[in-house]
Symmetry: C2
Subunit: 183 residues, 2 copies
DNA sequence: GTCCGCATGTAAGGTGTTACATGATTCT
DNA sequence: AGAATCATGTAACACCTTACATGCGGAC
């Protein structure tokens, strides 16, 4: 996961590990975080795999500049093109980089994602109806208020995501400047 | 984390590992998942720590019934009473069990949580204003549409959480039937 | 000259997943 | 009889966090 995020950040241009961390915190930081303890080993790994290239900047500190290699770019775009899932906010992370994905694939992915969300929403609504009916039969419904409220939260946040995705689908088509068609 | 969830589930009554898993999937499953590979070792651990008690049900299968011990209940309630944070949905998990927390502590936690959310919301709105101004100066704003949209999502989902928490705060007070005052 | 931000890295530990391995019971 | 579900558990691996360790450069 962190590997693809790093590659995605490096799509912007060469950067040091420290800068990558700061960029992550300031951009995707709202739903994804990286620590140096995972970042630096990841950079080392990616370098060994020839997906990025790290070069020492002689400049005083032992700062290194990491540059995305074509193979790394391919790997990133392949990850980006995978279908969206709602495991652990992977969806948000991918959509953040979706300007790099070609418009047609992007449309398809958003389409099936919103379909998936609608399915979940229907399901949750059905669950809520059942739960509501069961709740009426309880002597003390108030004793379960918080338990029940998470269902409400689930519904509301699903609605929020769905609305947002549908707004994305309304966006005028814009072919990526740096992305490609592959995978 | 999984330890506290298990303890929370066992507040309802004795259950087998398999039942705990199913209960988790069907209740908090929307934002938390457990695998058997983490669940069974956790049960073993909790048993060794004398927080739960597992007893073989002679009844045919090699099924075990796990019962919450008073020490486990204390540990769970202590976890529950900790302040809410927004790391990895821990907040949702805790609030799900909030009917077990005494009303006064609950009120305090929800209060400071919504304050925290409001702070984040103000911050994100400030960020968006800056970003909006910077966006106007770009030649091709459309090229960053998805990148920018995650900010919108962040705002909307923050608003959704905040509204929901504020609704919770309006709930009539209900002292927990099984929870306590401690810690 | 001291503190803060920049800069990189390692080691230990925590936490979880996937895949594997096994077997009983219930439903059709 | 066969399939699905119930039921428990281990081993390998993935992945990340925290704490530690080190040092440069600029600001005040």
């Amino acid at each position: 996961m962190i590997d693809d995020v790093i590659l995605g950040i490096l799509m912007e241009g060469p950067m040091s590990g420290y800068d990558i961390k700061r960029t992550i915190d300031q951009s995707v930081g709202f739903f994804y975080s990286a620590s140096f303890g995972s970042l630096y080993p990841a950079l080392k790994r990616l370098d060994e795999q020839k997906l990025i290239e790290g070069e020492e900047t002689g400049s005083s500190k032992n700062k290194k500049l990491y540059t995305l290699r074509p193979e790394g770019r391919d790997r990133f775009l392949a990850w980006l093109a995978e279908p969206l899932t709602r495991a652990r906010n992977e969806h948000m992370l991918k959509i953040f980089f979706y300007d790099y994905l070609n418009a047609e694939l992007r449309r398809g992915r958003l389409q099936s994602f919103s379909g998936q969300l609608q399915g979940e929403l229907h399901h949750l609504r059905a669950v809520q109806e059942i739960v509501d009916r069961e709740t009426e039969e309880l002597e003390d419904p108030g004793a379960y208020a918080h338990r029940l409220s998470v269902l409400t939260y689930g519904l509301r946040s699903l609605e929020t995501v769905l609305n947002w995705v549908q707004d994305l689908q309304q966006l005028p088509v814009n072919q990526p400047s740096k992305g490609t068609d592959e995978s």
